[in-house]
């Protein structure tokens, strides 16, 4: 039953991705800009311009370009079907390799940030709901006003100023490693895992130290909506009939709260999943402040340079991950919420 459900979802997801890929392919070509002019930015001649255009394949008919991109025209070289996302027009590197470098950084950042944010937000949200108007509740209110009042890059810059420049607790915002530390040999692409595999605890410590401030900034930003969501859902659950019944039945407070939490978590998990997918491309400001070189920064660079293959690659990867996250969410939902059935 579950396997069939997953299979069907993946099938539908593939169709969704394919439609999106084709739509994006045409949409970026409709934009009123010309990627070739950046190439020949050295005041080059018309001949040089035409040559650059030929090299990019932009002189071919649109459908030939699409066929090449999808990989259905073997004469044009490998495409999506053959597992190739093309070559970046900015760097000449395969897009897959570049995304393979940028994506792990963003995933590590988001995973650490979400883990810490959940560890903090769920208990705080619960407490605020259990005692409305109490210290936790008022604290949450003040914090959400405070954190939400400034954009995240501002908080990032402020944190850098205070924790690096003034206090010296954090390392310089120079990425995940100090400039003179050689990175561990890449195995998984995730630098924390690679440090472990290479048996270099000192490097692992250094990486975690470098993640400290960007993660703290993200937690500061992310916790607001998560706490609010948990609190609201918790309040709703606490007011529901089954909690009233549990209370009437004289169950201990802790047990009632646990029941309520389980009911409150289902919608919260959805929000967290959506936030995660959104943040894959949306963590760009944090990445920029801390020089992390993640997927968001890669996406922005690609868009600004009109690097078509890279833009298409980033959208494809973010869509695929988001679809997988949503699938995982639905599966988790089914575990949490007995009312959900695979249909």
């Amino acid at each position: 039953m579950v396997a069939r459900y997953i299979f069907r979802r993946i099938l539908v997801g593939t169709v969704q991705i394919l439609s999106l890929v084709i739509a994006v392919f045409f949409l970026i070509r409709l934009l009123p800009a010309d990627p070739v002019s950046r190439f020949v930015g050295l005041n080059s001649s018309a001949e040089a311009y035409a040559q650059a255009e030929r090299n990019l394949g932009l002189d071919r008919p649109l459908l030939t370009q699409l066929g090449h991109y999808l990989g259905v025209l073997p004469s044009e070289g490998p495409g999506l079907l053959q597992g190739s996302l093309g070559t970046s027009w900015v760097t000449g590197t395969p897009v897959l390799t570049e995304i393979g470098q940028a994506l792990p950084i963003t995933i590590e950042l988001l995973t650490f940030a979400f883990a810490v944010a959940l560890l903090i937000s769920v208990p705080v949200g619960m407490l605020a709901a259990l005692r409305p108007g109490g210290a936790a509740d008022r604290g949450v209110f003040a914090y959400s006003l405070f954190a939400g009042s400034q954009p995240e890059f501002w908080w990032g810059l402020l944190f850098v100023y205070v924790f690096f420049f003034v206090l010296g607790w954090a390392p310089a915002p120079l990425g995940v490693l100090s400039p003179l530390t050689s990175p561990p040999p890449p195995v998984t692409g995730f630098i924390t895992l690679d440090s472990l595999i290479a048996g270099r605890p000192d490097t692992l410590f250094e990486v975690l130290h470098h993640y400290m401030l960007p993660v703290a900034t993200m937690v500061f930003i992310l916790s607001g909506p998560i706490i609010k969501m948990v609190r609201q859902n918790m309040v709703r659950a606490l007011g529901s009939d089954f909690v009233l019944y549990a209370r009437c039945a004289g169950l201990p407070k802790g047990q009632v709260a646990r029941y309520a939490l389980r009911a409150a978590m289902a919608p919260s998990v959805t929000l967290i999943g959506i936030l995660y997918g959104f943040m894959l491309g949306g963590a760009v400001l944090i990445e920029s402040v801390f020089s992390l070189g993640g997927l968001g920064q890669y996406a922005i660079r690609s868009v600004l340079a009109f690097d078509y293959p890279a833009i298409q690659g980033v959208i494809l990867v973010i869509t695929a991950i988001s679809l997988l996250v949503y699938l995982a969410l639905d599966l988790i939902h089914a575990v949490i919420d007995p009312r959900v059935a695979y249909g």
Partner: protein, 555 residues
């Protein structure tokens, strides 16, 4: 924050460092790191990529230097060339042939020795036009090297290197021009004709990629420069190690880490803690804030960066010279220098960078004079701007949106001044790529400000050909569709004039025409700057604005 607190904070922060820099290492923070090391590759036009290339590769000839300016930055002497990989050269006017005697005993990063084969390989590769952007071919064409014609794009046979670049013996090479052209030596100093190490490049070639573009785009590039690539992660960092065999002596700085820090304010903070010793790409305000900081120097040069107002001759009402003159007189230059550049700019009095040979400031100038501007506008038939609203779209002042921080105050100053005269200016920020497309390809931007034109050929004639010769007569980037037959005619004579004095007279006359016609409305020349630790010495400006780490040393 007081100075003592800053120092204490710097000390604390330095203690928190997990990877201390060694005495001879340099941490250089920039807005990006090289996206490629291939000058015929896709990243050639990106300034930070050029920084990578010029430190790993070496030219045949370079400029001599002159004494440091008042901020301590050494500048080139554009009238004097000196040998780099070429030890000496001679020119035979009758056959238009240059004979280069190459330096012996030059060793590259991989141990290969430099000789004539490397020069031949470099020009063969340029003529193959096999890369993403044919920069090497383009420069050879600009220098009138015979055989480097547009034919290479149609005819495969034309892509083979002929007798125009010839090996005489292991250390002698001749290069023949198709016509006299004073740009020959200046062009050889440009990074797009730096010499490759043939042996290593060929070792990294494949059947699909015989000219090793992938290698140079993604892994390394082989030449005979002062530094070798030790580690390179695009979008993150490049680590360069000194080439101990470098022919001008082993570099004083053994290792350079060029690190990408996208936020300029973070580059400032890290420099102030002492962890980084050199930063670039700050805003004028940030440079200003560092001028009095302890242990930090800000050095700069009025090199070739400038800002001008672009008015399209093909778009009404800019086809009317009176309107162009009125606008030129309405630009509040002093206000722009003070409020946008914090004094780090000077009024630009010509159409060519004032540091370039052949530059003159013509007699005609358009100083800020609102009354004169109003009178000219009335004379043009638009008293107090009446009637200009009919050209609504033409007065959208376009600028590159990504440069909002620096250009924002400038466009605001200009539009306020124009509106004061009744000119209905609207601001129109557009992305860089769109700006580039409309400027270079469509040439349909009616009204814009531009701060990014740096002619890479250091010569008033080159700048004239590039921007102002009619497209039909070989103008390459005539973004305002300026057409003046007398100008074209004079350039066709100046181009092949071998007597420098005569050529300079013609170039001066041409620059006068540009000013009389308001081909552009020049605004300011702004300072190209760096901020660095006061223990770092030897900073030198080069016309590509890329630092050569070989120039630097620690006190």
């Amino acid at each position: 924050m007081g100075q003592s607190k800053v120092t204490a904070a710097a000390a604390l922060a330095a203690m928190a460092l997990s990877g201390p820099l060694y005495a001879q290492d340099l941490l250089f923070l920039a807005e990006d790191v090289p996206a490629g090391l291939n000058y015929d590759g896709p990243a050639a036009a990106i300034p930070t990529s050029q920084t990578g290339m010029v430190n790993v590769l070496e030219p045949l000839v370079g400029y001599a230097t002159q004494a440091a300016n008042d901020t301590g930055v050494i500048t080139p002497d554009f009238d004097s060339f000196e040998g780099r990989l070429a030890e000496s050269w001679s020119f035979d006017e009758a056959s238009l042939t240059w004979t280069f005697t190459l330096r012996q005993g030059v060793v590259g990063c991989n141990g290969a020795t430099f000789n004539a084969d490397d020069v031949i390989y470099t020009f063969e590769r340029a003529k193959s036009v096999s890369g993403a952007a044919p920069i090497g071919w383009f420069l050879s064409n600009v220098a009138s090297i015979a055989g480097f014609t547009p034919d290479v794009f149609g005819d495969e046979a034309a892509r083979a290197l002929g007798p125009e670049v010839q090996k005489i013996d292991d250390y002698t090479v001749t290069i023949t021009q198709s016509e006299p052209n004073a740009l020959f030596l200046p062009v050889l100093t440009i990074f797009g004709l730096y010499i490759f190490d043939k042996e290593v490049m060929e070792a990294n070639a494949t059947d699909e990629d015989p000219w090793s573009h992938d290698f140079a785009n993604n892994t390394d590039v082989a030449g005979f420069g002062a530094y070798c690539v030790e580690r390179w992660t695009k979008d993150d960092e490049i680590v360069l190690a000194a080439n101990p065999d470098y022919y001008r002596g082993a570099p004083a700085i053994e290792r350079v880490v060029m690190k990408r820090v996208p936020q300029s304010s973070n580059r400032v903070v890290i420099l102030r803690t002492g962890q980084a010793q050199l930063v670039q790409g700050l805003t004028p305000r940030e440079y200003d804030s560092l001028r009095d900081a302890d242990g930090i120097e800000v050095g700069g040069v009025s090199g070739n960066e400038n800002l001008f107002v672009h008015m399209n001759f093909d778009v009404e009402p800019f086809d009317n010279p009176l309107v162009r003159k009125a606008i030129a007189h309405a630009i509040p230059r002093d206000q722009i220098i003070q409020n946008a550049y914090f004094g780090q700019a000077t009024p630009w009095e010509g159409h060519v960078p004032s540091s370039y040979p052949g530059y003159v400031a013509p007699e005609t100038q358009y100083e800020h004079d609102p009354e004169k501007a109003a009178a000219l506008l009335a004379e043009a038939g638009y008293p107090e701007g009446a009637g200009l609203e009919a050209f609504g779209e033409a007065f959208q002042l376009s600028y590159v949106a990504e440069k909002e921080t620096t250009l924002g105050p400038i466009v605001n100053a200009i539009s306020t001044a124009m509106r004061g005269l009744g000119i209905p200016v609207e601001l129109n920020p557009i992305p860089q790529t769109q700006y580039g497309d409309r400027q270079l390809v469509k040439r349909d931007l009616p009204f814009a400000i531009n701060d990014q034109e740096k002619p890479i050929g250091v010569d008033a004639g080159y700048a004239s050909q590039l921007f102002f010769v009619s497209p039909e007569k070989g103008g390459l980037n005539n973004m305002v569709n300026y057409r003046n037959e007398a100008f074209d005619e004079m350039w066709s004579k100046a181009r092949v004039e071998s007597d420098t004095a005569k050529r300079d007279v013609m170039l001066a006359e041409m620059q006068g025409m540009l000013m009389d016609d308001v081909a552009w409305a020049p605004v300011v020349e702004y300072t190209t700057q760096w901020a660095y630790s006061d223990s770092l010495k030897g900073l030198q400006w080069h016309p590509d604005n890329s630092i050569r780490f070989f120039d630097l040393s620690f006190e």
